[in-house]
């Protein structure tokens, strides 16, 4: 079952096309990474999903229903540009946002109370936002995103502004929310978070979706028969089955050589290497998201 599907989304502005036939499908209870360089169209897509702006063309389904105003209460949104009312007290602010998401006043108080307890910011309830540090304000903003138990949570660069301790705290909350049944869309260009958290990814570049799938399958698709060998002593001669990409010293005596197989299987290469050197470790090098990202975005030269 898909939590959210978009079909052929187009969005044109007067001098450029922000989204060009973007179709994505986000599985339920997944953490879905929406990747792309700056200006790729991620924020436009997120704004369309949040019904802040409308697409010129295309359809969006939440589950099996067409996305509409009644879904506002089931979506939580953390914009990249964080914003709170500076002069308003934390508690009043959270209750206000919860009410706008459709909670009754009592429910709004209950939920915000639960969350300020959970994130240890109960003593800030009566403080104005302008008196909080940046990290504190980020926590308040996070609460405003999740307090109404949204089924779909959209987080735009959620960890920017958090110290490592709080980033970890928020990360655990995100995982917990997923366990409770929420689907999370994650927009970021920090590949280490994608590596850690995301199950599925889509890459948007210049308004077009150029890649989508589970993280595992994407990585599979980018395998390029590269192996890393940790070995003692130089190869006695060049291996026949592979090209040497690079060699570097690790530790006092060991070398780490990256090889790309040119003929035969990995077993053939390993068998050959045993003849050439003392092998300590032999391992396939699966590209990380960072490399995939750079490779895909670089392919098309900037114009």
């Amino acid at each position: 079952m898909e939590a959210l599907t978009t079909k052929g989304i187009y969005k044109h502005y007067s001098n450029h096309t922000a989204l060009d036939d973007v179709s994505i499908s986000i599985p339920e209870q997944s953490i879905y990474g929406l990747l792309g360089p700056n200006g790729a169209g991620k924020t436009t897509l997120i704004r369309i999903i949040n019904q802040i702006i409308t697409a010129d063309q295309g359809e969006i389904f939440l589950g099996s229903e067409t996305l509409g105003p009644k879904h506002i209460g089931t979506i939580g949104y953390l914009p990249e540009e964080r914003g709170l009312y500076k002069k308003l007290k934390v508690g009043e602010q959270l209750v206000y946002f919860a009410q706008l998401r459709g909670l009754s006043k009592e429910e709004a108080f209950r939920q915000t109370g639960y969350w300020v307890d959970k994130l240890n910011i109960k003593e800030w309830w009566g403080k104005k936002v302008e008196d909080l540090s940046k990290g504190m304000a980020q926590k308040v903003q996070f609460i405003s995103t999740v307090m109404h138990k949204p089924k779909l949570i959209i987080l735009d660069e959620p960890f920017s502004g958090f110290d490592p301790v709080n980033a970890n705290l928020i990360q655990n909350e995100i995982l917990e929310l997923r366990e409770c049944g929420s689907t999370i869309i994650f927009s970021t260009h920090r590949m280490e978070t994608v590596e850690q958290l995301c199950d599925h990814i889509a890459l948007i570049h210049k308004g077009k979706k150029i890649l989508e799938g589970s993280k595992k399958s994407v990585k599979q698709g980018f395998r390029n028969n590269t192996y890393s060998v940790i070995h003692r002593g130089q190869f006695t001669e060049k291996p026949k089955h592979a090209l040497t990409v690079k060699t570097r010293q690790v530790g006092d005596e060991l070398l780490d050589t990256t090889l790309q197989i040119s003929e035969g299987s990995s077993n053939d290469l390993l068998a050959e290497l045993i003849e050439l050197t003392e092998v300590h470790r032999f391992e396939e090098q699966v590209p990380d998201m960072h490399e995939i990202f750079i490779q895909l975005v670089k392919e098309e030269p900037h114009g």
Binding site: S14, R47, N50, Q51, I52, I53, T54, I72, I75, Y77, P79, E81, R82, G83, L84, Y85, K86, K87, L88, Y96, F97, Q99, L100, R101, G102, S144
Partner: protein, 437 residues
Amino acid sequence: MDKVWIIVRREFLNRVQKKSFLIATILLPLIFPSIIALLVYFSQEQKKNALPQVIHYVDEGDFIDPKPLSDDFDLRKFDGGIDDAKKAFSHSNDFGLLYIPPLKLSDPKGIQLFTKQSPSPSVLSKLESEIETQIRSAKLLVYDIPQHILDSLNSTSTKIESIKVSESGREESNNADVLFGIGMTGGILIYIFIFMYGSQIMQGVIEEKTSKVVEIIISTVRPFQLMMGKIIGLAAVGLLQFSIWIVLITVLSSVVLNYFGFEIPQKELTEQTVNAIPADQLNGPSIEIIRALAEINVVYVIGHFLFYFVGGYLLYGALFAAVGSAVDSPAEAQQFIFPITIPMLISYFALFLFILDDPYGPISVWLSIIPFTSPIAMMGRVGFGVPLWQSILSMVCLVIGFTFTTWIAARIYRIGILMHGSKVNYRVLAKWFMMKA
């Protein structure tokens, strides 16, 4: 719709809970009357304590009576020629030197006043009337008119009571001064209210836009709902503030009037007795004012005031919101605020220049019908009574007017609040306006 209500409530509470609101609401009605009272008090004290101004005079025709009618001047005859008098005057600290050549009573000319500081117009005109009176007395003597006829001529005074007859034959007495006062107060209040609260709407929108909080709000409500919530919320604040002011001012002024109440009539009484005004005209003007106040159709005037107060605010409030949404800072907003204020300024000046003077003149009528000027212009006319068809036409125009400005504003607002850092001019605004949803 209930989301608009949530926003209205929030905006209302945000403003009302601020200390500045409390201070402004309570102190303003105290501060202005206190300032006025102080100024009046000091000017009266000054008048009371001021010594009459010493004026020396050289009277070549010898007909000035050195005992002046007004106690503002102390006239002292200088014996000698004008040249000696000038010399002597230049060494003295006295106010002035009056030179009166031999006068032809039929054509009194050539009177000169020498002073060290330029005399104020009021002093000059007092002195003129002083001399005119004396010349007149001299003329009367020449024409041989006895004193008692003269006194009776001098005390001629009457007052026309203006009574308006409506078609149903009902008679209302009018006092032009009271109607003038009502028109002026109403017009000024609406003018201040629109400016004060309009700029608050604008600042609120700019704050939401620059703090980026608008992105979260807009993901839960439509931009139009947010805009209307803000406008209505602030209207509620404004109405509350004005209600408090009116209550406070009414209470304060009745307290003050009660306190001074015994002094004023007595003073008037003595003055009027001295001037030998017939007894049945005693307190005439004040009775007339009270009667005029009592006969003004309070519901009619207040009803009109509230309608134009709210209508004008909605008309301009939407425009202020649109401007706020288009810019990133209040400084940038200036260029767009200016054209908005022009019709306000026109109606404000017209209020004093034509409308209160001639409430039924064509300019007054048209200004009170055009929606951009009608809120202020109509206040100048409402006390004098407005023909029903003009009232209805004006109100319908105002409703159409604010619906129209709200529609325009909403189209600019929905795009503007999400645009940052772009340089905005009228062409950009037009483009936003044309953009489809």
